[in-house]
């Protein structure tokens, strides 16, 4: 169970650019749930993700993972509990290092790193086996530099890397936004498969309402740093994109242009 309670984050406090990114946000995610998060620009999606990963410490409120208060834990300290795939394919991997070295880095996530060799035959076999599951032929390119891979391949490897070590929640930060539609579709299907196979708890931020409804088991919309609505189960299954837009309008009591949500 991951719980964020009454989280408040303000950027640039006391300056003319002061932004209240989170305004007392509450969200609980039971184990095994796959939550999709939508919302327009500045709604607080990225901030929520950063609060969960430890990159941003909320001024008020609490973050708990399985009953442990991790609010003040730094990102590296939390890495054993939280895995993350970034939006930018360049951000989640080291391009100067080889595929196997990147995977070795992820394999040791949340563990003490000693002076033992990072790569043994055992690890290589494991990485090869996992890469083969992607069906991209990367299992024969373990020693290739990460920089040689395309954006889609990199995101696929980033996903694998996230699952190489244990975690309580997987954070996906618009991880298909930088990809072409076909590749994005491949990575999304792969995401769903990996989450289902490992029984992961996941939170995926997306700009596409379509994807938000098609993937996952629950959809949360953020607006002005709070949860605007939260739907799951039967009600969510019967919902389509226009319904989602209407729902948003009624919840907030204001009319919203489609594209500001879809593109914003």
């Amino acid at each position: 169970m991951i719980t964020v309670s009454a989280a408040e984050v303000t950027f640039g406090r006391g300056t003319p650019l002061q932004t209240r990114a989170l305004r007392g946000l509450d969200l609980s995610i039971p184990a095994g749930e796959f939550v999709t998060v939508i919302g327009s620009n500045g709604a607080g999606k990225s901030t929520l993700l950063n609060v969960l990963s430890g990159d941003t410490t909320p001024e008020k409120g609490k973050v708990e993972i399985d009953g442990i208060d991790v609010t003040r834990w730094s990102a590296p300290k939390r890495a054993g509990l939280v895995a993350r795939v970034f939006q930018d394919p360049m951000a989640g991997t080291c391009e100067a290092m080889s595929i196997e070295e990147n995977m070795a880095l992820a394999h040791a996530r949340g563990r003490r790193r000693g002076l033992g060799l990072a790569l043994h035959g055992r690890e290589r076999a494991l990485f090869r086996e996992r890469l083969a599951l992607l069906g991209l032929g990367l299992e024969n390119r373990l020693g290739d530099s990460m920089g040689l891979l395309s954006g889609g391949q990199r995101q696929a490897v980033s996903l694998l890397m996230a699952t190489l070590a244990g975690m309580k929640i997987l954070l996906l930060d618009e991880h298909t936004a930088a990809l072409d539609p076909r590749t994005a579709d491949f990575v999304l299907k792969l995401t769903q498969r990996i989450i289902a196979e490992h029984g992961l708890t996941a939170l995926m931020v997306t700009h596409s309402m379509r994807n938000a409804l098609d993937y996952g088991t629950r959809t949360v919309m953020l607006h002005e740093g709070r949860v605007a609505f939260d739907i799951a189960g039967e009600r969510r299954r019967n919902l389509d994109v226009p319904d989602l837009l209407n729902l948003f309008a009624t919840v907030r009591g204001e009319q919203l242009a489609d594209d500001s949500l879809l593109l914003g």
């Binding site: 890495a79 989640g92 880095l105 040791a108 949340g110 790193r113 002076l115």
Partner: protein
Amino acid sequence: MSLIATIGAVEVGLVYALVALGVFLSFRVLEFPDLTVDGSFPLGAAVAATLIAIGLDPVSATLIAILAGALAGLVTAWLYVRFGILQLLASILTMIALFSVNLRVMGKPNVSLLGQSTLIDYFAGIKPVFAALGLPGQASLKVVVVGILVIVVTALLGRFLVSEFGLAMRATGANPRMARAQGIATARQTYCGMALSNGLVALAGALFAQTAGFADVTVGTGTIVVGLAAVILGETILPTRSILVKLIACILGSILYRLAIALALNSGALGLQASDLNLVTAVLVGIALILPGARNPLKSMLRRKAAAGDAQSGAAS
């Protein structure tokens, strides 16, 4: 160029190879532009020379010199990590401070090691071998001793950089955000890397004092340029992805750089003298920086021809 000048150039090249390895660690692995080396090199020389002069054994003196250098690296890392001072500025602050520290350590501007027993003298027993080969004994001995040390350090460093900890250090420099997401405490990695880097440079300083027979407060001037020149020269002549080969390239770069300088200063035709050293250095580093980007005119001509050939055969089919 005479044999003795060549051997001398190789010896200095090997001493500065350790500087190159240190600079490689800070500039390339950690991506930390660190000028502390201009202070930690003479610090290593000053500490080792002073301790040997007061009668400490050379091994302990050298080890303490390494520790002193590591401490200097830690100060720079601390200024950057803890207080967010710009990397370059933090390292300049430490470098400037070290000038005074070095004077304090020695108590005077220079310390002579004439007649003192140094690390080199532990191996004096193999001198007759060089005599039998017709090589100058003392000069060859220095090359062999420093060479062995460089090989040991390179092997250890190469092994370190493929360990879990070393991999984490490389990730810290290459992509700190990703490193943190993978649970790597990037601050600690920066401290360790900077300590290691400046420890290596101080070791170079300690060896410099023991091979040259003195330590002087001014020997550090331009250390960073020499180290960086070796790194860049190595990368130019030996482009590779293997981390161990990259380290070896630093060593080759350092030796080649010294040979090039010796050659330039020794060839009468160019009319250069010892005081032109800094100019020659700047020109050599400039060439090393320009070369990797410069295109080989012959190669690009061949490529154009091949492309034209392809286009023709494409049109024919």
